[in-house]
Subunit: 355 residues, 4 copies
Amino acid sequence: MSATKLKIGCAGLGRMGKRHALNFLERTPRAELVAASTPDDSEIEWAKVHLAPYGVIIYKNYDDMLKHEGLEAVVVASATAVHAEQAIKAIEADKHVLCEKPLSTSVEISQTVLDAAAKKPNLKVMCGFSRRFDASYRDAHRKMMSGALGEPSVLRSQTCDKLDPTGFFVAYAEFSGGIFVDCSIHDIDLTLWFFGQDSRVKSVSAVGITAVEPDLRKHNDRDNAVGLVEFYNGKLAYFYASRMMAAGQEDTTEIIGTRGKVTVNAQPALNLVNVFDNTGIRREIPQHYYDRFEYAFVTEANEFTACCLENTPAPLKLEGAVQAVRIGAALQESLITGQKIFFDESGNRVEKTKL
Amino acid sequence: MSATKLKIGCAGLGRMGKRHALNFLERTPRAELVAASTPDDSEIEWAKVHLAPYGVIIYKNYDDMLKHEGLEAVVVASATAVHAEQAIKAIEADKHVLCEKPLSTSVEISQTVLDAAAKKPNLKVMCGFSRRFDASYRDAHRKMMSGALGEPSVLRSQTCDKLDPTGFFVAYAEFSGGIFVDCSIHDIDLTLWFFGQDSRVKSVSAVGITAVEPDLRKHNDRDNAVGLVEFYNGKLAYFYASRMMAAGQEDTTEIIGTRGKVTVNAQPALNLVNVFDNTGIRREIPQHYYDRFEYAFVTEANEFTACCLENTPAPLKLEGAVQAVRIGAALQESLITGQKIFFDESGNRVEKTKL
Amino acid sequence: MSATKLKIGCAGLGRMGKRHALNFLERTPRAELVAASTPDDSEIEWAKVHLAPYGVIIYKNYDDMLKHEGLEAVVVASATAVHAEQAIKAIEADKHVLCEKPLSTSVEISQTVLDAAAKKPNLKVMCGFSRRFDASYRDAHRKMMSGALGEPSVLRSQTCDKLDPTGFFVAYAEFSGGIFVDCSIHDIDLTLWFFGQDSRVKSVSAVGITAVEPDLRKHNDRDNAVGLVEFYNGKLAYFYASRMMAAGQEDTTEIIGTRGKVTVNAQPALNLVNVFDNTGIRREIPQHYYDRFEYAFVTEANEFTACCLENTPAPLKLEGAVQAVRIGAALQESLITGQKIFFDESGNRVEKTKL
Amino acid sequence: MSATKLKIGCAGLGRMGKRHALNFLERTPRAELVAASTPDDSEIEWAKVHLAPYGVIIYKNYDDMLKHEGLEAVVVASATAVHAEQAIKAIEADKHVLCEKPLSTSVEISQTVLDAAAKKPNLKVMCGFSRRFDASYRDAHRKMMSGALGEPSVLRSQTCDKLDPTGFFVAYAEFSGGIFVDCSIHDIDLTLWFFGQDSRVKSVSAVGITAVEPDLRKHNDRDNAVGLVEFYNGKLAYFYASRMMAAGQEDTTEIIGTRGKVTVNAQPALNLVNVFDNTGIRREIPQHYYDRFEYAFVTEANEFTACCLENTPAPLKLEGAVQAVRIGAALQESLITGQKIFFDESGNRVEKTKL
């Protein structure tokens, strides 16, 4: 074959890692998955069956994978705790990086990735906010940005997971950064996309409850939370995050402009089927995040590949990923302390803002 | 009170009769229900409780009611078999008439009502096609007739009842005139409304099955039937009627124009509620015809009253009611014989039409 | 007529007063509108045409109307500023009272109505929260209260008006009590209905903007506002109010339980019509509050009438009306000061609640 | 690479040919597109840019492509007129075949493909009815076949194209076989899928109009047509086909069982976006067939590949493709002659069936 392909490796083969690896292997024509790494034995077994037969070399050690001959890029899909470290190592090894969100649950650590990337302006370093690649969100963004709906002013967005009856999310909360960093980070990123990446926060406040899992309080987390974010440009956003949905994944956004509004997924649906029976008319909805955004991840893989091969700007700026963590962490703090938090126009905390 | 009210009597106090009586009693401010008649003892008992206390005189005999002092109008809501006879008697007694559909299951008998009315041009004689008074159908009609959607060309309409597990509709089929005369008559009337009251039929053909009640065949009827009607003005309509809906009443219409289309009730809903649970998202739908069209009947009562009081044209022309029965009866015949039926431009049957 | 009717008078014949008067005149079979009062000459002219012909006596002075022979009840539909005064006068004159919401924009004045009513336990005194009479809200309440959807835990509700390009709402804001008292009062009342009338508030916080009408700031108001309310029973509610909707009135509520959720009007629709044209599929939505809730007002009139005639408990407790104003006023204060407000379990303000 | 891939060639690189070629090249991991053929110079130019760089050999002559070293399978995506000939040649050259629908507009010619395939039972020969691979149709089929909705009894299905203002479809009608063979063939295939592949036709009847393109009559075609098909197993289907949709592609199906029904695409939507503006709430819909069914074609390519590699039964039986053409051609004949056509239980035409 003469057409050049991007040689990429996948770090981590957990739930999301497997998906990224297969997307780069099978659904990204211009990429060639050449390597994958995981310290986990069962993941290595999986890789032997699903990746190795197609020529993918499996590494137990991430640092070894980085030395893979000809490797040009890395998708970091490991545990959040090592996102930043692995991303920085890849940058230092001159690899392009697509890193799963968030860079880190810590603003400071997230910033270190940004700093590392700043030293290698030739590399593409991107944090994967998958909704930016979703066809519906893109259509909504295009429509709002066309101006036909006026100035975007209020944004409502929610990331709501189906209740996992195993309660796995309780243990998970220890490392997730909390519901606003883990879930609402997407809604925050969307807000920055629709309101302008340079929107500066004036205040955040949040409240939450533990309706189904009181044990979340041990990890300073909640199972339902609502947050308000006020911006200096006269816009406001409010977010709802939940671990308690009965029907499935409900990620809904509406952007309200001065002359109209646009909604995404206000009427969730798994597909185009409706069932009529003696209980009424019923439709199913996606059960999990990936059911809803599968094709967005495929688009993300393809667009990341294209920008690396063609040396065009990455679809997302890395700065936004740090800004999103900053807002998410402030909301989480407000959720736990019960206090409203104020910022001045330079982003410093203040006791109170001028009205 | 000085404002004049229309003094009206209600013939028949069965299921629909009760509704008409109460609508004229309670929800038609310009009418005064002064009398009601029924030969049925249990209906008389009902009337003693629900009508008599408000000054309504109850008659066991229809002819006696017609002689009620000051009576100006009659709503005929008795069994279909006596619609025509009672309507004609009322006309002859110089009363305005609102007659439940159909005038008769027989075209010839229906015509006798028209003939009687023709002799009393001062009277308002109207057959109650309730959908003409429904806010959604009126909105659809207005939108199509505005011309914005082009020339109405194809009409699909269905009248589908919720399955009655008692199978009552089998016995009922003996007198109903069949599913096309009993149910599709509404769809036929809508077709004439949207395509023009003077649309002339070129051919009709129909097929049907007995999916749940084979016994309907004893009465030359079916529980599901589809009919096609071709018109000389280059338009066509197709109808579906069923006794077998699981979720409720499903009366849906779409009118397709050369530049757009308009649908009525393509997404049935009882109200504005959606339930999200582990089976998905669900809404309920109206269970019976009256649940869906209750307010149309109220509007019908009010508009009939207004045209009588103000001597303005009736909202519906009586000729249409005969034309609708004619088409319905032809469809029913085609359903049973399995033959397509052709008409010339004068409405006479022919072996075959010119292509 | 032998069936007893409730003799009622209507105070105020402005926009809502006209509707209440006509509803009691024409659509409340067990009530008899005997009187109406208004100091406004043009409203008196309207009444001469629309009410007087049906025997309604028109008064220029409210106090005179209260002395109308045989008057048993009053619907107070005048300007908010005189709601409380008129309601109290009616109570003192031994009339049942249906008072438009809010009793007053002031918590203290609202309480005076409650105090007056407490002295006449034989009277029905009710504040008209119309959504409690809406068929969809009632269905949602029944479904949630059946327990099938688990414990109601989070409530989202919005009252959003279509943008009035005349900007009338700016002048109106001077007396409205602000957007949370004027609009969100309905959402607050719904919250108390779904969460329990005795739910005690732990904290409120709110933010808002003036996206279309900066002049609202002169009256300490905003055109878009979001508020959070935390309750001591572990539930939370969040509200959005806006004066800026492009498509029409958008009053949406969702109540999220531990095993399911129920939404009301999440997919607004004026009727059952959809238009398909070269811009896609389109439906219209109600333009104003009354378009959406017309039948709820009719039901309210009928149920108020029934409880007076039968001496049964009023459908709504008056205490809730004061509690709703209290929460609305706190939200409005938080909106303007930018501060979160905390309450202890007795309802007293505190600096901070225990986490 | 050690994992075996199916070596496939694509015959034809017109609109559908390009899509099939790219799907096998980029979105079918287990297939390797090794060759493509087209006699058309502009299509060859396209292939030089889009296929050749990835190692695909381009042939001007189909017969030459069949001799491509190691070729195992062919996707026939050329003009309908040569489908059968090319499919038969491939079968005779021992290649698996995925043939675009229809095999031919002629029943007799369609049958020759079946005959050729019968001689090579080791080959997979499949006609691409793409809807069978659509996730929504599959979900509907699974739900109906689970039995929960009772016995499928009535099927309504439509294939309606957006109006092409260039009127291209008039010239196209000369070779398309007519609207029932070109469009409704999909609906017919769905009917056989839901009702049982061995359902025998009792009668067909059809009517049609030329609402926008009278010139279609020159080619014995119509721009809007409705057809009825009655089966000997007591089921019935009715189809609507149109070239005149204003909003986009509207392919809707509902299958009505004795205890419930299932609909596919009764509420068309391009994506999850709704726009609210001063005209109401609006959503867009797919504009063309491929917009709606893109992923179904990808699934088709993957499943065809899998059955060839694993020697498992093809997802579709080839017999159905001939049966579908037979029914489509009979509907088209009825559309043009205006006569209802009857069949006996052996599939022979008769004057009239027994009632």
